[in-house]
């Protein structure tokens, strides 16, 4: 347990030492300002527009951190054989992977804490200064829903990247499949949603319909956009659905991480 903790803290410090990580965190700090400027082009619901930008920014910055910081770190460990330094006895392969994962997850938590503070600052500004008729639906809870859902979905993506790292032979392979995973997580939900639309499915062979439904079932429900959109407009959040969404992600992250440990324990290094 001690090895995992030490390795997690070491990994967190290693990631924080990267210039790209500090730049990404600086972008996260400045994101509310960019959101405020963008919202000035609109008529009525400026806070909603600002929080839309924060939502998209949260997901994008989470992915950026994974792709530009975590993937190179794992690529150097596995492709460059740096992992030998950490894998000396008594540190086991599982402890190494878990330590690295927790370190990277801590970095994501820091990012989402910064983004949460930014969203709440925009909400506070709206509650203080917006005219009464434009404050409908604005609440502190919205910032938490945005940062919370983006955070646990990014951790699922992080687990998928660690799963890829367990079998990838080098940095190029790891980067390629990680980008594919990010693109899949971003693109697939709306595509699958559209493909499940009965109007589009008219005339499509039954086996293709079953295949599409099967793929949709295998992937976790990545799109929390509708929860966020409803919360932005003051609609009551369906917490049971949100809990199930979170549990689905927790399950998927655990599956990926455990499959990663099993594969990494047996691979040639």
């Amino acid at each position: 347990m001690m090895h995992i903790k030490n390795l997690a803290l070491y990994s967190f410090r290693e990631l924080m030492g990267m210039l790209v990580v500090r730049i990404t965190l600086a972008v996260a700090v400045l994101l509310p300002l960019a959101a405020w400027i963008f919202s000035q082009f609109f008529l009525m619901e400026l806070t909603k527009v600002q929080l839309d930008v924060m939502t998209a920014g949260s997901y994008l910055l989470g992915m950026v951190l994974i792709l530009i910081a975590v993937v190179p770190m794992l690529g150097a460990d596995i492709g460059g054989r740096l992992c030998y330094f950490y894998l000396m006895p008594p540190v086991s392969r599982s402890e190494y992977m878990l330590g690295r994962f927790i370190g990277a997850a801590l970095l994501l938590l820091l990012l989402f804490a910064v983004l949460l503070a930014g969203s709440e600052a925009l909400i506070a500004m709206a509650l203080e200064h917006a005219p009464a008729d434009r404050r409908y639906g604005i609440s502190w809870e919205t910032g938490l829903i945005i940062a919370g859902t983006a955070c646990y979905q990014s951790i699922t993506l992080l687990a998928a990247v660690f799963f890829i790292a367990a079998w990838a032979t080098g940095f190029a392979e790891l980067l390629l499949f990680s980008i594919a995973a990010c693109a899949l997580f971003w693109i697939m939900p709306p595509v699958l949603e559209a493909m499940k639309n009965p109007f589009l499915m008219v005339g499509v062979p039954t086996w293709i319909v079953s295949l599409v439904h099967g793929i949709a079932w295998l992937l976790p429900e990545m799109n929390a956009g509708q929860f966020i959109l409803a919360a932005l407009h003051g609609q009551a959040t369906d917490y049971t659905m949100l809990l199930l969404h979170f549990l689905g992600h927790a399950g998927y992250a655990l599956m990926m991480l455990m499959a990663c440990l099993l594969m990494f324990a047996r691979r040639d290094l």
């Binding site: 963008f38 082009f41 609109f42 008529l43 009525m44 619901e45 909603k48 527009v49 929080l51 839309d52 930008v53 939502t55 998209a56 997901y59 086991s92 599982s94 409908y136 983006a150 979905q153 971003w186 693109i187 939900p189 709306p190 595509v191 699958l192 949603e193 559209a194 639309n197 109007f199 949709a216 079932w217 976790p220 429900e221 799109n223 929390a224 956009g225 509708q226 929860f227 966020i228 959109l229 409803a230 932005l232 609609q235 659905m241 199930l244 969404h245 549990l247 689905g248 927790a250 399950g251 998927y252 992250a253 655990l254 599956m255 990926m256 991480l257 455990m258 499959a259 099993l262 324990a265």
Partner: protein
């Protein structure tokens, strides 16, 4: 890997699979907009893909595209054919924005304030606003504005009464909504002065860049009134 560690890993793996199955069994794709879009045009799908987990941003994009095209079209001399094409695009932007975010207030302001005054799109704009009024179930304004347009531009008092009654049930609705609904229900014609008052009210709601159409209409009503006298 030691036997105990292996068992723990396999146990957690099974727990993960169970959680995923549980979540997948009880949740389907959670879409508030699904019932609004019976058909998914290519542009809608492309924008959905680009917006990913932030569908609200796709609605914002459509509003920005609307404003850009509107300013462009207003600042140039366009032929009738070009104008009609511009209005078609403007209405499509509003329609797409509503599909992504049916609660977005800006959509209804622009639908009623701009496309509502284009004869070919008046009914479409009013019906779009009526759909939105069921989503924005706390807001009296969109059905009120749409109801008055249904009466004054379409002469469709049944639709106007439906919208004004919807507006009157909302918190903070002005008594005027119910009064007008009763008047239209009784088949009474609204006066020109009521129309001017309504348009001046709308002018206050929209920023000055959008005043052109409303002012033209006010001027037309005032000249008709002075001709009668």
């Amino acid at each position: 890997m030691q036997r105990r560690s292996l068992m723990a890993v396999v146990f957690v793996l099974c727990a993960g699979v169970s959680l995923h199955v549980l979540s997948r069994h009880y949740t389907s794709v959670y879409s508030a907009t699904a019932h609004l879009s019976s058909q998914a045009p290519a542009a809608f799908l492309v924008q959905s893909v680009a917006a990913g987990p932030a569908p609200g941003l796709a609605a914002d994009y459509n509003i920005i595209a609307f404003s850009t095209l509107f300013y462009e079209a207003s600042s140039r001399q366009l032929s009738q054919q070009e104008k009609m094409r511009a209005y078609e695009y403007l209405f499509n932007y509003i329609d797409q924005a509503q599909r992504f975010d049916p609660w977005f207030w800006d959509v209804y302001r622009l639908a009623i304030g701009i496309t509502g005054f284009v004869p070919e799109y008046t009914r479409k704009a009013i019906l779009l606003t009526e759909r939105g009024a069921h989503q924005r179930n706390w807001d009296w304004e969109p059905p009120f504005l749409a109801g008055f347009l249904a009466h004054s531009l379409l002469n469709d008092d049944r639709l106007a009464v439906r919208l004004l009654q919807l507006s009157a049930t909302r918190p903070g609705a002005p008594p005027l909504a119910l009064g007008l609904a009763a008047k239209f229900l009784a088949g009474e014609k609204g006066s020109r002065q009521e129309g001017i008052t309504f348009l001046e009210y709308m002018r206050r709601l929209l920023p000055k860049e959008y005043h052109g159409y409303i002012e033209q209409r006010i001027a037309r009503l005032k000249s008709q009134e002075s001709e009668e006298h």
